[in-house]
Each structure stands twice: as structure tokens, then as C-alpha cells.
Symmetry: C2
Subunit: 470 residues, 2 copies
């Protein structure tokens, strides 16, 4: 088993003065070398220390991106795409120096084809913004990582969130891309058709490539009709095992539940504290059902029965949209709420995903180990997918706490891989899980990834040092 | 617009006597050079003439495949994976000579994890066989191309079929693969987890790569619980436009229909003739609804109402499982039934897929052009996906008929691409659509595909001459 790598040794590749002046000539004030700006772009929500790029370019168009990449390529200087800065695995850290391309100003919803259930957006569009802009047309985009991430970043990390159990992840919901390649060429992958057998699936190759194979400058997405009826419910259990076993059964039965989230007692306490919810402090499932009135009633009846069999109590409906929003907002805030329970702390977060039948043992073992180790922690999980996060709250000034957290993390991953699962359901590999990737898929598959990278980015300028070492 | 390529110029790469004797030493009688065997392996269900390989190896294990590829690689000789021989685009033709690896004896369902809704199978398992073997566990595998194809071949062409509108295609239903690479190494991609962000999506890169990037030797699939309730219905329309418009509306409304198939009058006549169904000879939708009793009733009511708005008549339920099976078997036979309407003919088949709102105009233009051209034809369509096939029945002895069919095909594809659709929804590129692939995605994307191919198969031994030219 490979140990988690906190910061692989990397050689910085300095930005030559000539390149900087070429960039300034084109970008003017949109090229910044101010320390505060660079530092903001050299970190994410991971526990890693800041590693700032040498310059930040605020791109406003595909041709901005293409020009920046062409210039950087000529000087063999790294370029790192930046969306909302919400990744959790060190994706944005400039481990080899270089330039950050901030895409947040490319934030236009370019085209909505309501009649085809598709939209084409720029990469800096935030998920909340997209949903706001399409709501009036009776549509929504379901993928919702905890943070209000950018669609480009979500594509690049193959993100998912609470709705994936029913609607899939970015893998299933990205139809087509516009991508700037390592040589600064603009290519298109995919079409607006819902399926295709036209050659290699470059769309899926780019989705999840963490900015290492190309820079995504346009994303065409599947949209979904807003369900006729939505109902949310919460239910409390004696222990997390019972909550997870309820979930396992409902998935095995094929109940088309839309969301099925686990919060352990610590997570419930944190959201209570932050969002003043007054929930019972016990392991909880937060669920949502979508469909026609009759179908939602049926799903809910099935789930209530299953939950009862596992000792589920205090089944409560969120009957109004406001109440639902309040619960889901609290769920989306859970990570930040929990961080606030230990001021100054940072979180080391696991992200394993396993075949559903193995999930209960995974969550209970992880919790038992964390309890035994005495490190503050909490669990939230997209349990309908077999995916859960246990986050260990560490004091960044105490290396021993980080080591302990990493050791616990390693054990969680080890068990997930032994159960034929993955070390990362939705956060990506980034800097942190490069050893785990080899453990999970083997040297042969990683060698194949490397060969693809070498072919598409021969000078290793696109977000170098991420996913694997060249 | 590039013309469809019937047979690109290819240089044969002869199998040296030394390689043949090495293969015979290992495979014994499982290495055949008999003309009948070679010819059987040098054709598919496309209208192309036979192009036999020089030898056929009947592989019985992954190590057979790995050994064959290693030996072939040492001699730079092409290898072509062969499953059930049912592809439609010339995928199996030995355009550069070489060896066919027949995987039909690798036909074991290796593991069924009913509790996780997954199965791992060898590539030669047929879809009917898989469904037969898992039925008793209350599970099914939905992807059903017309032919009883092999799971390996279906993965390699990113196949779909009648259930894709609800359950997705091979893209969404393959979780993990074992693959023999161009150097004869065995690698694994993916896990049994339902989602993952672990590095490049090699699974999706292999799915749809038509045997040009690796040879699939094991496939892990998502399974689905058999629905509690299944109902099938047929409905007849004045014209295909009305049938397609009904479909468009039900997709736009988000009705979770499981299957929605169009047959035009010619196709209905053919299945009547072959399967003695006695259906009204008019454009027909054949639909299926899956879910709970209440949900199926609701879906059906919605669809009946929509169909009525578009003049749908004679809505009839197939109430017994036998009746349903009879209808779907007829649908799966439609292609072969139609071929029998013109003895000795072969079919040139289109496979465009477009954003759903554009489908009605696509089908009606294609039919009008075919009528005007006076070539026998029929339409079947997975219309819920925006995908339809118009097949032109040609006399293979009359080059003018093939030219006419190819010209009609070209016009159908041209319109689909202009509507932001794809030249192939499910059949693949093979030999026939290489020009269309460039029209659809552009030279830049095809250059990227070529770079990936070059990286993973530097001597171009894996099914060379397919998808694009190196």
C-alpha cells in the first residue's frame, strides 16, 4: 500500500521575463503578479499549504485561453486552470510554478435548448448560477458538490454530489466540450446528441482529467425537467450501520430515490450549531424523492418501511420548499460547519466509494478507528452511491495530528480497495492520492494514463505534477 | 462534406511463417487457416465484401489473448478481436490482413454480485445468455442491440438498443474492464464502485474504441433489478412525423419511459411478414413502461394522452409476458425481416442521432428523399434517444444502387451534423464513416484520437484501418 503523498518533489519551472511581458502586452491589467492574487490562486480547500503561481491571468474568452497556452507552451511553462477554487485535493497548487488561468470571468450561460434538455455554458459558470438561470424554463442541473463549484472545475474533477444516485455524475451529464489543447489549439468533443459511437470518447477522457490534458472552455450539459413532485424526509437511527443498511436495501430494491445522504452524530451536531436546525443528535438519513405525486408517495412508503426494519425513528417530512432548502443548504454547509467546531483546524477528508453491499462495514470501521484514535472527526456520505467522507479535524501546527489523520485515511482507502472500490468517488486524485491510484488500478493502467498524457501534452505544461508523476 | 468511404486503400501486412508456427505451437487446432473459417471472420453484417484474416485463433483465456498479441506485436502483424460478428460498419474486415482473435469461447459469466447489482463476464458472453443467467436473481442487463451481440463487442462499439432511453448505453453500464494492451500486457480499468474520480477514465476510453486501443478480455457491468411491473403498448399514426412528435413531447416532459421504438410502414410490413403479427400497416410506436404498478399506469396515461393529441390510434396493450416477448422479438428481427423482403439484397443503414427536438424533421426528410429516389427502404428508430436508422435495400450486383444509397446516407448525415447531432448513435465508425467522423468533430479532435492511438498502439497492430487512418 502506497502512503498518501502530501507534496511530491517537484522542480519549479520559472516564468521567463519575456513570457511575462508577452502576457502583459495582451492581458494588461488582467495579468496579475500581486502576491495576494497569486496566493489566492495557489490554494484550494485542501489542507495543503499555499503554493502560488508566478502570475494569474483573468481570461475572458476561449481565445484568451488559447493565446495564454500558446505563449506558455513556447516557453514550456506550466498552466493551471482555476475555476472556483473549491477542490479538495491540491489540484490548484502550482507545484512546478507557472501561470494560473482564472476562468471565473468566463461565466456566461451561452445557450439553453430547453426543447432538447441541454445547455452550453462557459467554464466559470457556478452551479447555483446555472440552476438560477434555467429554473424559469422548468429545468434543473442536478450535480451539486458541496461547494458552489464552477461547471468547468466540476467537469475537470468528474464531480458528483447528492443527486448522483438518480441523475449520475459529471461523467453522465456532460455531452460535449470545447477544449484548448496543450499546443493552444481549440478542439470540440461530442455533440448535443444524447448518445454517440463516433470514435474515441474524448469527452469522457477530458472529464476527470484535472486540467492535465486540456483546458475546458465550454461545456454542454444534459438538463433535467424539474420533477412534478419533490418530497424530502429525515430519519434518525441508533447507529450509522442501521442508516447505511437501510440505504443498501433501498438501492438493491431499485427504489429510484433522488438523494440519500448520511450525516453522523458529529455532522448533525455541526449543522445544528451552524444552521440552528435543532435536529436530534443521532445518525441521520436525509432523503429526497422526485417524480409524480403517486410515485413519490410509493417511494416514501417503501423507504419508511425499510427504515423501520432497521430501527429508524422520528421520520419527518420537509413539506415546504423553504424547509427543504433549509435542510439541503445545511447539508451543503456540513463541511464548513464542522470545520467551525474546532477553530483554526483543517480537515483531511477521505472519499472512498465501494460496491453498495460493502458500505456499512466501511463506515462503521472508519468511525471505530477514528474514535479509538481520539481525533475529532465527522462523517457525511452520498450513501446511495456507496460513497462517504470521513473528515479528520487536525491542527495544522501539529504534524503528529496530520500523520495520524493520514494513517487513518490510508486504512480507510486500503479497505475500500480490498472491497473492489475506489479511493476517490468524486474529489479526484490531485496531489494527495497518487499512491492510492497505483494501489487501486495498478502500475499498468497508470502507465497507460501516462502514455496518454505524454501524447497530448508532450512538454507536460498542463497542470503538471497532478494525478501521477511523469 | 466528406463522402462515405467504402474501402480505404490499405496495405496488407502478411503473417510470416515463423509467427504462424509459433501460434500453431501454442494454439494447436485452435489456430485455423481454413478458408471457410477465415471468410467467416472477415465479414460482418455490413454490406462490405469479405476481407478474411490470414488466420483465426480461438482464444479460451486472457492469457491466450495476451500471448497472441505479444507474438503478433513482435512481428508487427494486425490482430482483430471477433465476438459475435454482428457489427454493421465493417469493423471485422481484415483490411491490412493479420489474425482474427475469436473470443466466442470466452463465454463465462464469471461473477454475479446481485447484492451490488454488478456482474463480471468474459467478452464472448452473449447478451441473451447474460440475461438468462441472471433472471433468477431478479436482475437484468438492459442493453440490447438488435443482434444477439457479445458483451465484448457491445463494449467495443459503445452499443445501445431499445432500453437506452431509460438505462443508458454501454457508456453508462460498463463499470470496469480487463484489457490486453498492444504490447500484450494485461491491465485493469475501473472498479466495482458506481462512480469514481480516480484518474483518466480509461474504461470510457476503451468503450467505443472498436478494438483499436486494446482487446477487452473481461467486462464488469451494472445490472438492474427487474422492474416490479412492465407494460408494453403499440400505437399507430397517420405519418411518422406524428409518431416522432409524440416521442419528442414525452421526452421533454421527462416521462421515464423504458423503451420507445418507431417502425415505419415498411418495417411494420416486414415484421408482419416474418413474424405473422397481423399489425396494422402504418407508422407505429412500440413502447414499454417499467416501474411500480402506479408509476406504469401514470406513464401510460400520459403517453396515451400525448399520442391522441398527435392523432395516435388503436392504442393496444400487450398484457401478457408472451405477447410482449413476441413484439420485442419482432422488433429485434426487424432488420433481418426487412432484408428478406428483397431476396439477395444487402442494406446500407444510417445511424444518426440528434437533439430530440430535431428528430421529426430528420426522419421525415430522410423518408421523403428515399421515396423520391425509388430505392426500397425502411425506418426503425430508438426515437426516445433521438436515434433512427433508415436502411436502403440494394442489389449488391448493381453499383449504381449502392452509390444512390450512399448518396442518400450522406444527406441524412449532413443534416444530422448540421443539427448538432452525430453520424452514429450506436453502430460505430468502422470503415464506413471515417469521413463523417471528421465532418462531425473536426480535424483537431480526430488528430487527438490519432495521438492517443499512436501512444497506446505505436505499431498500429490493433484493428488497424478502423475509425480513422493513421
Amino acid at each position: 500500500m502506497n502512503a498518501p503523498q502530501l507534496m511530491p518533489n517537484q522542480v519549479a519551472r520559472p516564468v521567463p521575463a519575456e513570457l511575462l511581458s508577452q502576457l502583459r502586452a495582451h492581458f494588461g491589467e488582467r495579468c496579475s503578479t500581486a502576491l495576494a492574487v497569486r496566493e489566492q490562486h495557489g490554494r484550494d480547500e485542501s489542507p495543503f499549504d499555499v503554493l502560488p503561481p508566478e502570475a494569474v491571468l483573468f481570461c475572458e474568452s476561449t481565445s484568451d485561453v488559447a493565446l495564454a497556452v500558446r505563449l506558455a507552451a513556447a516557453h514550456r511553462v506550466p498552466v493551471i486552470a482555476y475555476g472556483a477554487g473549491s477542490s479538495l485535493e491540491g489540484h490548484l497548487l502550482a507545484v512546478q510554478g507557472g501561470i494560473s488561468l482564472d476562468l471565473s470571468r468566463m461565466n456566461q450561460v451561452l445557450r439553453v435548448h430547453a426543447e432538447d434538455l441541454t445547455a452550453t455554458v462557459q467554464p466559470g459558470v457556478l452551479r447555483s448560477q446555472l440552476n438560477h438561470e434555467i429554473k424559469d424554463q422548468g429545468l434543473f442541473f442536478p450535480i451539486d458538490p458541496g461547494a458552489d463549484a464552477s461547471i468547468g472545475g466540476m467537469s475537470a474533477t468528474r464531480a458528483s454530489g447528492t443527486n448522483a444516485v438518480r441523475y449520475g455524475t459529471m461523467r453522465e451529464n456532460v455531452l460535449a466540450l470545447e477544449v484548448v489543447t496543450a499546443s493552444g489549439e481549440v478542439i470540440r468533443t461530442g455533440t448535443r446528441a444524447r448518445k454517440s459511437s463516433a470514435g474515441y470518447d474524448l469527452t469522457r477522457l477530458m472529464v476527470g482529467s484535472e486540467g492535465t490534458l486540456g483546458i475546458i472552455t465550454e461545456v454542454t450539459l444534459k438538463l433535467h425537467p424539474l420533477p412534478e413532485c419533490v418530497a424530502a424526509a429525515i430519519c434518525f437511527f441508533e447507529d450509522v450501520g442501521a442508516a447505511v443498511n437501510t440505504t443498501i436495501q433501498l438501492i438493491q430494491l431499485g427504489v429510484p430515490i433522488a438523494r440519500c445522504e448520511l450525516l453522523d452524530t458529529h455532522a448533525v451536531r455541526a449543522v445544528n450549531h451552524n444552521d440552528h436546525l435543532g435536529l436530534k443528535e443521532a445518525p441521520m438519513l436525509l432523503m429526497e424523492f422526485h417524480g409524480s405525486d403517486a410515485s413519490v408517495k410509493e417511494q416514501a412508503a417503501t423507504v419508511q418501511e425499510l427504515a423501520r426494519d432497521w430501527g429508524g425513528q422520528d421520520f419527518q417530512w420537509a413539506t415546504t420548499p423553504e424547509e427543504r432548502t433549509r435542510l439541503w443548504t445545511a447539508r451543503h454547509h456540513a463541511y464548513l460547519s464542522a470545520l467551525q467546531m474546532k477553530p483554526g483546524c483543517r480537515a483531511v477528508t477521505t472519499d472512498t466509494c465501494v460496491p453498495i453491499s460493502r458500505l456499512a462495514e466501511m463506515v462503521t470501521s472508519a468511525l471505530a478507528e477514528a474514535e479509538a484514535a481520539g481525533l475529532p472527526h465527522f462523517v457525511v456520505g452520498h450513501v446511495g452511491d456507496g460513497n462517504f467522507h470521513i473528515a479528520y479535524l487536525i491542527d495544522p501546527a501539529l504534524p503528529a495530528e496530520r500523520e495520524l489523520a493520514e494513517d487513518l485515511n490510508r486504512r480507510v482507502v486500503e479497505r475500500a480497495i480490498a472491497a473492489q472500490g475506489t479511493c476517490t468517488g468524486e474529489h479526484g486524485i490531485g496531489l494527495h492520492k497518487q499512491g492510492f491510484l497505483i494501489d487501486e488500478t495498478g502500475e499498468g493502467a497508470v502507465a497507460m494514463m501516462r502514455a496518454v498524457k505524454q501524447a497530448l501534452d508532450p512538454h507536460n505544461i498542463l497542470n503538471p505534477g497532478k494525478i501521477f508523476q511523469m
